[in-house]
């Protein structure tokens, strides 16, 4: 998150940057980015002192894994109060920006008396998945590879693949990428080679022998995710801020 500091501080000279993390950020890291911000500002109006006075680093002192940062913040009312004090008179010009929102983000925004800029969970579910991506490409008129619609069971997928290769001559082998709807970095991808005109039953038997791209993934670990991720995608999106960055940033002008 600190990578944003040079840009934020230099481009808006009255910007206050509040960074909240689970655990305290090493002071050497803060020094490094403050140094970069000073360089980016060319020295004139953006002294180190100026940047440090506009930068507030807060942390929950909580290394617990698997707990969303927003929940860690909400569990500490005094921290919320501190945040509110920092935002202070600038509240009218501030907002909370997150990718999506759960009840937790909504609660935090209300406690801080700030508007919440975030997509609705259903919008994120509709756009941020593999099937959502394909539907958007279609709507946007962008070329994307032909394929099947979203399936919630192996049998359903086999039937759809049968339809997909029905008109392909048996001498030709179609190379398909099978994808879990919610997955990162190709971890949920597998490569399947299907001869043209193959039956759903035969395709069903091919699936366990797909070439899985994820590290350590086998059919036995892949299978359960088909159901779990299928269900999750259909009912509720994953809460935001649980993954990689574990950071909330509040930029207030």
């Amino acid at each position: 998150m600190l990578l944003w500091l040079p840009g934020a501080c230099v481009n808006s000279l009255d910007l206050t940057v509040v960074i909240v993390t689970s655990q305290a950020v090493n002071s050497d890291i803060v020094d490094y980015y403050v140094g970069l911000a000073v360089q980016a500002g060319g020295g004139a109006n953006v002294s180190e002192q100026n940047i440090r006075s506009r930068l507030h680093m807060l942390d929950c002192g909580d290394a617990t894994g698997g707990v969303p940062l927003t929940d860690k913040i909400l569990a500490r009312p005094k921290l919320v109060e501190r945040l509110r004090n920092i935002i202070g008179v600038k509240a009218a010009k501030a907002a909370i920006s997150t990718i999506t929102c759960t009840a937790s983000e909504a609660r935090l925004a209300s406690l801080l008396r700030l508007p919440l800029l975030a997509a609705s969970p259903s919008a994120v579910a509709a756009c941020g998945t593999k099937s959502g991506s394909r539907s958007m490409f279609e709507a946007a008129g962008v070329r994307f590879p032909p394929g099947t619609s979203l399936s919630f069971s192996v049998d359903e997928l086999a039937v759809k693949i049968e339809r997909h290769v029905a008109k392909v001559p048996p001498s030709e082998i179609k190379k398909l990428v099978v994808k879990l709807d919610e997955s990162f970095s190709g971890q949920g991808n597998a490569v399947l080679k299907v001869p043209g005109g193959m039956s759903a039953a035969a395709i069903r038997d091919l699936l366990p022998n797909m070439k899985f791209m994820g590290m350590g993934v086998t059919w036995d670990t892949y299978m359960p995710q088909i159901r779990r991720i299928g269900v999750r995608a259909a009912q509720s999106p994953r809460p935001c801020l649980t993954s990689m960055s574990q950071c909330v940033s509040i930029y207030s002008h």
Partner: protein, 637 residues
């Protein structure tokens, strides 16, 4: 789950994988920020390159914008990315949308902030506000790769802190330079310490220059990590001494506090039990024997093997204080203290009622230790005595028997490939434990073993092999193919019990010793390297008064020191023989013995995973200088 058609690249190659990034504003306005190419090796993502070099850059920008507008229509905000591939058909195919800051977001926003520039509408150039074109290569998966260190545990990280990475990049002159608008910017600094990886962006005035800068910064970090791993490995070795648990149900471990352990003494051994004494860490920085013995204890081996084989074994940690200090010795070299004067002084002190032998005479710690060990040896009267060492130089294991036939025979049956006769008695100062033993207990079969380099894991394994051979061989069990029973009868001949690949050497001259602090090798020396009479091997003296050290005869270099200590041996010069010889150089085999069909040649170094020490004349002096503790004149390892 769904299936879609795989987009193949040009035959036999992976399809290029560019991506586009944009942002949906709170007003629903879409801005396309950047185009990137992914850098892949096979299926592994190495990083990205900006801007995309694809001839389809404009189409990437347009498609990214179209997707952004669709996202805005559906109520999504903020940063997003679109992954594409360029098929073998030359067409651009959209693969998926990422709704969040992706790997390319951070580096791009950094460039934006540092240069205040923008990407052009065609998506193929980035121009700073000074009108300079810039490229970058970035990755948030830069792995710290410290390289190969002998005996290192590479399972964890080398613990590089954020400030280490920052300093490293800065000190290599690659840090961000606001004037040139080029340089390396780091991110994800906190993950290096625990996870051995971090993020890095190299900004330069061309794509090639960015690639080269990225590689140079990575090299600099890896070189620092290598140093760190060497130091960590050293520490791991020391820690092993303290960490080996003593409660496996087999009693204690050999430590600096528990420096003598006896096995098979309380057990019901028969009266003819073979008495064996093994000393490890006579020099405090040569701890392979201690580690090996402790592993054998922890494995539950040593106690049982001693009882099974009717062996009364005493293991001694030779120099506890130096071991604790991780130095060769604390005050004086212990292996030059086995002399009559010290033994007599200790006896005199004991007669005066001085029970603490360490308090004898001038109070040198090692004098007390030598007296203590000599006393133990006299008390035990062992049949076999083994002294486990290691060397500073890369070296295969070799045995140095006391100069008796029985000792030579024992040496020839240990799991080593080289036996060097006479060397144990060829030190300049005399006073090795074998020197003392030859005078006072010549009937003992005594061998010192150099197990390999100090920091090599293989040295510990050799030490364990020697201990096993001595313990089990005593009852005729042979765990080493090619070596017969270690039982050596007084009148035994070597006959065919000697392994045919064993190389025998004999010292021909007194040792050459390190005369002064100006000592430095003038060539890259390796153990068992052949030299010719007159070869210039080392220089010494001062710059105003330089002197050279030359080989005094044709022969083989044994134990060339990489950590010279003034007054100690620099190297020994030996000749190859066809088998054991006596002190006068006559074969000590009886004439009835079949001569070996051929004399093995000395192509000794057979060291796994360890390249030959790449030292040259220029790097060597600095190596020495850095390692000398000038206050004591002792080399610190």
């Amino acid at each position: 789950m769904l299936a879609e058609e795989f987009v193949p690249g040009v035959a036999g190659k992976d399809a290029p994988a560019p991506s586009g990034q944009g942002v949906v504003g709170t007003d629903g306005r879409v801005t396309v920020l950047s185009t990137h190419d992914q850098i892949l090796r096979g299926h592994t993502y190495l990083g990205c390159s900006f801007p995309s070099a694809s001839h389809l850059a404009k189409e990437i920008v347009d498609s990214t914008r179209a997707v952004g507008e669709e996202l805005a229509a559906r109520g999504c905000l903020d940063h997003y990315g679109v992954d594409f591939v360029v098929g073998g058909d030359g067409k651009l195919w959209a693969i998926e949308v990422n709704l969040r800051h992706c790997g390319t977001t951070g580096p791009f926003m950094t460039l934006l902030a540092l240069t205040n520039g923008t990407m052009n509408a065609a998506g193929d150039a980035f121009i700073t506000d000074d009108g300079l074109r810039r490229w970058y290569v970035a990755s948030d998966n830069v792995y710290v790769e410290p390289g190969v260190v002998a005996g290192a545990d590479t399972s964890g990280s080398v613990g590089l802190l954020p400030c280490d990475l920052v300093d490293c990049v800065k000190n290599s002159g690659l840090g961000w330079n606001a004037h040139d608008q080029t340089g390396v910017v780091l991110h994800m600094l906190a993950s290096a310490s625990m996870h051995n990886k971090f993020g890095m962006t190299a900004v330069a005035e061309s794509r090639d220059a960015a690639v080269a800068m990225f590689a140079r910064a990575k090299e600099a970090v890896n070189a620092m990590a290598h140093e760190a791993l060497v130091a960590k490995t050293e520490w791991d070795r020391v820690r092993l001494l303290q960490d080996i648990p003593g409660d496996f149900g087999f009693g204690q471990a050999l430590t600096v506090d528990d420096d003598v352990i006896e096995f098979g003494v309380d057990a019901e051994l028969s009266e003819d039990a073979r008495k064996v004494v093994i000393v490890a860490a006579t020099h405090g920085n040569e701890i392979c024997g201690v580690l090996g013995i402790n592993e054998l204890i922890a494995e539950g081996y040593l106690h049982r093997a001693c009882v099974d084989n009717n062996v009364a074994l005493t293991v001694i940690l030779g120099n506890p204080r130096a071991t604790a200090e991780h130095k060769r010795f604390s005050e004086v070299n212990l292996n030059r203290c086995f002399v009559d004067s010290i033994e007599e002084a200790a006896n005199a002190a004991a007669e005066d009622g001085e029970t603490n032998v360490e308090g004898i005479d001038d109070g040198f710690y090692e004098h007390g230790r030598a007296a203590f060990i000599m006393g133990l040896l006299r008390e035990i009267e062992p049949e076999i005595y083994i002294d486990l060492h290691s060397c500073s130089a890369l070296s295969p294991a070799f045995a140095l028997p006391m100069d008796t036939k029985a000792s030579a025979c024992l040496a020839g049956r240990l799991p080593v490939r080289v036996v060097v006769q006479g060397l144990a008695h060829a030190t300049t100062a005399k006073g090795t434990s074998l020197d003392w033993m030859l005078t006072h207990m010549p009937e003992v079969k005594a061998v010192a073993v150099e197990c390999g380099r100090h920091d090599a894991r293989s040295s510990v394994d050799v030490a364990k092999g020697v201990v096993r051979a001595v313990v089990t061989g005593a009852s005729g069990r042979d765990r080493f193919p090619g070596r017969r029973s270690l039982v050596v009868a007084g009148n035994e001949t070597l006959a065919t019990s000697m392994a045919s690949d064993l190389v025998w050497l004999r010292t021909s001259t007194q040792a050459e010793f390190v005369p002064d602090e100006g000592f430095a090798w003038t060539c890259a020396v390796r153990p068992f390297q052949s030299v010719t009479k007159g070869d210039k091997l080392a220089k010494h003296g001062s710059e105003t008064d330089p002197k050279t050290m030359v080989a005094k005869a044709d022969g083989v270099l044994v134990m060339p020191t990489l950590l010279p200590v003034v007054g100690e041996e620099a190297y020994f010069l030996c000749q190859q023989t066809s088998g054991p010889v006596d002190w006068d150089g006559e074969p000590c085999l009886s004439t009835t013995v079949q001569p070996l069909s051929s004399t093995p040649t000395l192509t000794v170094p057979d060291i796994k995973n360890e390249p030959p020490a790449a030292l040259d004349a220029t790097s060597f002096p600095s190596l020495l200088k850095d390692n000398i503790d000038t206050s004591s004149g002792v080399l610190v390892t």
